[in-house]
């Protein structure tokens, strides 16, 4: 495991996301807050990138740039070769706060992307009672929400809503997955179980994944590359490949190499928060 910077020019590989000097500021005049310093980041198709960094450094902002929900105040963001992200690529996004629509059951919430996204939307009326429904139920089973399809979001716990949120991001088999702390509200064991589910899915279909997380172990387990960000306004401080063999296991996270990577990243984040480590 070498420290240092991962090459940002990806040669012949197709680029899924390219931020070139993209910066974001909110507000105007005296109220201006810089959320993201000019950031350059290239992610190849099929890569699994984890984004870690102190709270408020701009991780969610980067995801919103990639999904096209936010326009950079400076620089450019190109997704799938186009400036409007959602038109270029099928995107699955799990927001940091579960954003289930309160008037729909869990099942209907999860099926929402199929109602909107081509080519599924044309088939929605015909298939929502059969094929699409089965697909939703299969996903719910996988995340441990069997039997909750007909509940309303408010009848679910925070962690359950988060898992449903993940299902909604996955159901339309997106080519680009943007996950904002998707396991943040879960207990360690459920979390590890879902790492396995996500890894399996990634190995099977190789979507491009950009995962925001505060858990270095999670980043190391899942990602093929980890980017560490500085404190607000964030920029990318460190960009390291993770080349443990796949499929990875939870046992592997106790491996000395893995622990060493963890500790090195940890040191970078402590540094990024602008403080010496407390003893």
């Amino acid at each position: 495991m070498t420290s240092g910077t991962y090459p940002n020019d990806l040669g012949a590989e197709r680029v899924a996301i390219a931020l070139s000097g993209a910066a974001v500021t909110f507000g105007r005049g005296a109220r201006k807050t810089a959320a993201l310093s000019p950031t350059t980041l290239k992610i190849a198709e099929g890569e699994f990138v984890a984004l870690v960094g102190p709270s408020g450094c701009g991780k969610s902002t980067i995801l919103k740039l990639a999904s096209g929900l936010l326009q950079p105040s400076e620089g450019a963001v190109i997704v799938g070769g186009r400036e409007t992200a959602a038109k270029a690529m099928r995107i699955g996004m799990a927001f940091q706060n579960p954003t289930m629509l309160p008037w729909l059951t869990v099942e209907r919430n999860i099926m929402l992307p199929l109602k909107i996204v081509r080519p599924f939307r044309g088939e929605y009326r015909a298939k929502r009672r059969t094929e699409f429904r089965d697909r939703a139920h299969a996903l719910l089973d996988q995340v441990g929400l069997k039997g909750f399809a007909d509940k309303y979001p408010w009848q679910l716990s925070g962690g359950m809503q988060q898992r449903a949120n993940l299902c909604r991001a996955l159901i339309h088999e997106p080519r680009l997955l943007l996950l904002d702390e998707p396991f943040g509200a879960l207990d360690q064991f459920t979390r590890e179980e879902l790492w396995g589910v996500l890894q399996e899915l990634w190995l099977a279909r190789k979507p491009t994944v950009l995962l925001v997380t505060h858990d270095l172990k999670e980043a190391g387990y899942l990602a093929s590359r980890i980017c560490v960000m500085s404190a607000r306004p964030g920029r990318i401080l460190d960009d390291s490949p993770v080349d443990f063999p796949r499929p990875r296991t939870v046992a592997m996270t106790f491996d000395p190499d893995f622990v060493a990577l963890n500790q090195r990243l940890r040191a970078r984040i402590v540094e990024a928060r602008g403080g010496a480590e407390q003893s």
Binding site: G68, A85, K87, I91, L101, L112, P113, I116, K151
Partner: protein, 259 residues
């Protein structure tokens, strides 16, 4: 909320109404109030049943007039509300005009409508329309304008069109606001109709009350009031029932979730 508690609440509501009438009856008897001033409820109900055959066509007339005005008001109200709710610019531009418009006492517009359309049903329909559309506009606009951006983002990230977002987020989100407005508007619509009928019509409950009062037939005036109150309550209840099915999610009702 158990069924038992719900039933008990309804019983209390009924008990309150019955109690109100009993108190009224008792006070009239105790203070020996003349029925030319304030008839007792028992007299009013007796008059109501005795005169029902004559009253009936007028009740239908008022109900029909009100419903046409109300439906018109809802359609126009939803259209304007949606227009100014989705656009910040339209909201800021159109609101002052709407406020000005709604501040006009509606009694003042009746003669104008009569001037334009002659007396009869048309001014009554129009009066109930203009009086009831404003709450709809305000509520629909507010519901749309306060839709959580996070919910819209869910669809935007999927590349949804403006129409998709309006249909899948805006519309359901507005429903609780819309029904709140319907319940206010339906009572307003009755006020509008009766207002116009008392001034410029020879049909309808409003007109009956007007001619009854000039004949000092006070129990009949009150019978007209009771009819109006009854119609208002009936429509209110009807909307509440629909509302419960459509917007149960907003109050997180268990019976909605179980359905």
């Amino acid at each position: 909320m158990t069924d038992f508690a719900a039933v008990r609440r309804k019983l209390w509501a009924v008990a309150l109404i019955v109690g109100f009438f009993l108190l009224w009856e008792a006070l009239c008897l105790a203070l020996d109030v003349s029925d030319l001033v304030l008839p007792r409820p028992s007299q009013v109900f007796a008059t109501l049943f005795a005169r029902l055959p004559i009253l009936w066509p007028h009740i239908l007339q008022t109900l029909m007039t009100t419903m046409i005005g109300f439906v018109g008001g809802v359609v126009i109200g939803v259209a304007i509300g949606a227009l100014i709710g989705v656009s910040k610019v339209a909201y800021d531009t159109a609101y002052p005009l709407l406020i000005g418009f709604s501040s006009i006492p509606k009694v003042a517009v009746v003669p104008i409508f009569v001037l334009w359309f002659g007396s009869g049903t048309v001014p009554a329909v129009l009066t109930s329309l203009v009086i009831c559309f404003f709450p709809i506009v305000v509520n629909v606009a507010t519901g749309l304008a306060t839709t959580e951006p996070e919910l819209e983002d869910v669809l935007k990230a999927l590349g949804a069109s403006k129409a998709d977002i309006l249909w899948n987020v805006g519309l359901p989100r507005v429903m609780p606001f819309f029904f709140a407005a319907l319940k206010v508007s339906i009572t307003y619509a009755f006020v509008g109709t009766v207002l116009a009928e008392t001034v410029a019509s020879n049909r309808g409950v409003g007109n009956v009350m007007m001619s009854a009062s000039s004949n000092f037939d006070v129990p009949l005036v009150f019978a007209g009031l009771f009819v109006l109150a009854g119609l208002g309550v009936a429509l209110y209840v009807a909307f509440s029932l629909i509302e419960r099915r459509v917007t149960g999610w907003a109050s997180r009702r268990d019976d909605f979730a179980a359905a």
